[in-house]
Subunit: 410 residues, 2 copies
């Protein structure tokens, strides 16, 4: 690899590099100037848009006093999510991390288990595993999806794992490998079918981390509806927001009941007193946040339309810019394009910070990829496969301003 080394001019492949050529950073900035509205700087990476019934619904909460655990917006929000995603049930939670943690609990991830997660993801994916006392085990990603590489995982597990009594075990650590948690990076669906195959072969539970992919479809079906349980997020930077919030999606009505039960302190009402039949969590979404969510979901189709048009504009505009491309959905995917992603060709990874600097200076809030999770101190000793693609993407991804409000009519 040639990261941070402008002098390296022969790639590992042996191909000779255009050493005299560099990214034209001014050109990149000029493209952003052309695509994005001129009347506002800075332009954030992703900001919410409150153009619908937000005021009316939130005001209704305040007028009725129903802001917390009592009130109808939580039920309504859950119904809307279920209807929109096609998952049989949605259970609203306090945030996406809580939803993912509950998903892991629901498939019985136990202390000491390993859980396969992508190396390139937000830290919450691994943290939720750690909250269970389990160990994240890192998997490389696929350039076509930016998400977990099912084919590579399959090869890796053939070498690393074995199945006994319907359980998968890590040959090296001896730990049970219980689940796989692909994350739909920046809203782009991972290739789910081969992943489902891997899960079947190796007896692994699939949990989709759909925190970023509300409005994204894999072969026509909504992400988060392929696994037994999946997690959504409605953080302030997401396609729709509830301030802070998340949801568990499931197609299994027993799991749905259990999810609701354990996210609401596992209450068992008696005639007068209230008991609790297990260690539950205070993870329900407050009604005032759900009210915001209902108003936001009503506008989701419009947001998605604008976001896809903005992505198209970015792709067109960067088409003839040397050394970069805008990431585009895989053939099997319809993406929400949550965060548009400029990919630098590998030889120009060394210019990433230069691009970040120049764009910020002109008021475009851009951002590199997350530091790979296995590089973080607390996960440095976790098991992992070789991660060449994740390592490359870590150096070459630049997220671009992506709010639906940024679409300018031509």
């Amino acid at each position: 690899m040639v990261h941070h080394s402008e002098e390296s001019h022969i790639l590992q492949s042996g191909q000779i590099q255009h050493i005299d050529r560099r990214l034209d950073v001014d050109r990149i900035v000029a493209v952003l100037e052309a695509v994005l509205p001129r009347n506002r700087r800075p332009l954030p990476l992703h900001e919410p848009c409150f153009g619908g019934n937000e005021w009316a619904y939130v005001r209704d909460c305040l007028d009725t006093g129903w802001v917390s655990s009592v009130g109808s917006y939580v039920d309504r929000f859950e119904s809307m999510l279920s209807e929109y995603t096609g998952a049989a049930k949605a259970i609203a939670t306090v945030n996406g991390t809580a939803a993912l943690y509950i998903c892991l609990k629901l498939v019985s991830v136990e202390p000491g288990d390993e859980v396969l997660v992508p190396a390139l993801t937000f830290v919450a994916t691994a943290n939720a595993v750690a909250y269970c006392g389990a160990i994240p085990h890192f998997v490389d990603v696929d350039e076509m999806t930016l998400g977990m590489d099912a084919r590579k995982l399959s090869e890796y597990l053939k070498d690393t794992a074995f199945v006994r009594n319907h359980c998968c075990y890590n040959k090296r650590t001896g730990a049970r490998i219980k689940a796989v948690v692909p994350m739909h990076t920046f809203g782009h669906p991972v290739d789910l079918e081969p992943l489902l195959e891997v899960c079947k072969t190796f007896q692994l539970e699939l949990i989709e981390d759909a925190a970023e992919s509300l409005g994204s479809y894999y072969k026509g079906r909504h992400t988060g509806s392929f696994s037994n349980v999946a997690a959504l997020s409605f953080n302030g930077n997401k396609v729709v927001t509830t301030g802070g919030g998340g949801a568990v999606l499931t197609n299994d009505s027993d799991i749905a009941r259990l999810a609701k039960h354990i996210t609401t302190t596992a209450r068992v009402p008696d005639r007068w007193s209230v008991s609790h039949d297990q260690i539950g969590y205070n993870y329900r979404m407050p009604n005032i946040n759900a009210a915001l969510g209902c108003a936001q979901l009503e506008q989701l189709p419009r947001f998605l339309e604008k976001k896809r048009l903005l992505a198209r504009k970015y792709m067109d505009a960067f088409l003839d810019v040397f050394g970069v491309r805008v990431f585009s959905e895989a053939p099997f995917a319809t993406s929400n394009y949550w965060l548009n992603t400029l990919l630098l060709d590998e030889p120009y990874a060394c210019q990433r910070d230069e691009v970040l600097e120049a764009t910020h200076q002109r008021g475009f809030i851009t951002r590199p990829a997350w530091v790979l999770i296995p590089k973080l101190r607390m996960y440095g000793h976790s098991p992992k496969m070789e991660l060449p693609v994740a390592e490359k993407l870590e150096q070459t991804i630049i997220n671009l301003p992506s709010s639906p409000s940024l679409l300018v009519d031509d």
Copy 2:
């Protein structure tokens, strides 16, 4: 004890009971009719009152788009809490359970440790201990405060525990006893001075569960400011609400920094990328909820005044009702009277459900005490002392409607 047995007419003490006398349930209902406003039924146990700047501040969040992790209301809410309670720092969280869990983490409660908690409390007190992989160890309560009995705890620990190398150990289980978590029940401060003594003698960390006691003072100082760390709650049923929310209070600026850090995913921003230096939590309070909290805190003194007047009215009105009394603050306490509490004399515990039934039928939402935590299935094997007072109170407490809006001007 004579629970549920109207025929028992000789008390354990040998004293003969007035067997021909029973509670006059109609009289109790009549007192509620006299004290409480006549124009609304049902009257909930505690409902929020939004009579201030709630709408203005929430609307400001919607207008600016700052509903989530960005925005100034969280800082403002934390400053207001710190100023009001006298604690050096407040860190807003997603709810009170999360705040308490973080408190336990901050004093280094480890898996396998025991933590002393009252038997009479909301289940979250014990659950937060369990989330740490630690074991709740149940302590009896004091009739004067409804909270942890420091003198009984001291006697118990002399028998049950020993101190070695500045750590306290349970003689029977061998586990380290790390902390004591008194809860200020229904807003009534526990007797903190003897409890601080116990902590000193037995080298225990004190954590106040002040979820119910915002606005309550012990010897003139706000509850939650006596321990290194303490937890508040702003659930919808509390004195002030943020929809869902909580806060960690601390007087130690290093602990405050750490609390903020670990409740916000332990982010370590670099020039461009974001790293994380430990397993953190997504526990920050969203800005829209903090906005609600700011408006509510502005009105807290007025709420407290009304609540104390309502408590006074209850006390006066029940003064000459046979077999019951309204719980009143201890001499060292100034209580917020979060939930007013009718205490049945022990011989009439058997009529508790009759009172609950009659009051509900007339539209007064009343509630018995929590089922004692050690009686819950998941805590049935936890260590505990004898719990005679908690057991008595479990059968004799009835909470009464207590919203500040219920005060009727004479």
